[in-house]
Amino acid sequence: MTEDEAGRRRARGELESEVMAALWSAGEPLTPAGVQAALGSDLAYNTVQTILSRLLEKELVRRRPAGRGRGHVYWPAQDAATLAATRMRAALDERPDRRAVLQQFAAALGEDDAETLRALLAEREP
């Protein structure tokens, strides 16, 4: 595999995860155009369509006709995510000390720290 191909493969993986994330945070079924808008990037419509088909094959998303010939709407498959959550909770609840060794993106905060962070966030808004 050339470096360029490896780069393209990685990029496709990143797009798949971004589309999944967009579908989950939308909270309602989206058309491919809706996904395109949610991602806010210069992704081609066809690329979004291709990624959605791949996710459908993996049974990570479901779809139904949008009606009136507008193609399909897509939403994330609930069962896979519920199962993942069940496994995750089981692993972490079984032994509470597991959380302490987890490399979490963000940890819980004290009230002082929360205030500081809110201030820091506000500071940067234009």
């Binding site: 496709r12 993986g13 990143e14 797009l15 798949e16 995860s17 971004e18 589309v19 999944m20 994330a21 967009a22 989950w24 945070s25 909270g27 949610a38 991602l39 806010g40 996710l55 993996k58 049974e59 990570l60 994330p76 609930q78 896979a80 995510a81 519920t82 199962l83 993942a84 959550a85 496994r87 995750m88 909770r89 089981a90 692993a91 079984e94 032994r95 509470p96 000390d97 597991r98 959380r99 302490a100 060794v101 987890l102 490399q103 979490q104 993106f105 963000a106 940890a107 819980a108 905060l109 004290g110 720290d113 929360a114 500081t116 962070l117 809110r118 820091l120 966030l121 940067r124």
Partner: protein, 298 residues
Amino acid sequence: MTLTVYLPLLLPALVAVAARLAADRARPRAAVPALVAAAVLTAVATIWSLLLLILTLFDDLPDMAALDSRSGLHLPKPVPDAVAVVAVVLLAVVLFRLERDVHLRRGTARRLRHAGPSAGGVVVADWAEPLAVAVPGRPGEILLTTGMLRALDVDERRAVVAHERAHLAHRHHLAVLLAGAAAAVNPLLRPARDAVAYLVERWADEEAATGVGDRRLVARAVARAALATAGHPASAPAPALGVHGSVIVRRVRALQAPPPAAMRWQSPLLAGVAVAALVLEATATADFVAVLRAWLIP
């Protein structure tokens, strides 16, 4: 072998000093390997010193005790038996804690692996608690909860995923595992362990910032994710560097400041500690062998 065998037990205090100083000043990419190497080396020195102390009990073996009665033999008693017995107990405790720590870290990763089908290496779990975790493996996976996804906007989500991918790409779990194991062996290394845990987060933050091309975006993602986590009552604290939560504030501040410069004198300090550990252990071992030879070869 009087001082030389005891001093290595205290060397980790210097590693801890270097760790504290490196945490916010050094470039994480350089500081993490240096700290991990120094921590592991001084932890091994700790075990070796305990072993030497234990081995001085050899003259109490029945066969050896007979040699003691030879007339005219005046050998120094290098280590009191009481100290050697304490070393036996300490070594047992150390090995127990080491096994438990490594088992906990590896077990946690194993249980989180393959939680579900992944899209581009990301597994989404439908759970209100905001969590984003890198699960090492071949290949590694990123676990994201819907609670985390919904707390962030599209750019912030990209930053979080870039951060977690950096953890996996640079095998940060190994650095954290080794530093944790070293601290389990010698508690003086706990500050070094916490500094490594903090610095791999900083490393992943910096890499994410390079990836998305925006340090402020990563700072915002860290802050927003932490606030979402704080708003969730079930979320467990993950304290590090002794101060609860403030690690997040330090990460956000570091991202708002210019990128850190290279290490200056932390490297020589750590290298000095490594050399001192090797010299002291070599001297202690040589002294031990000398006593042993004098004892066995009249």
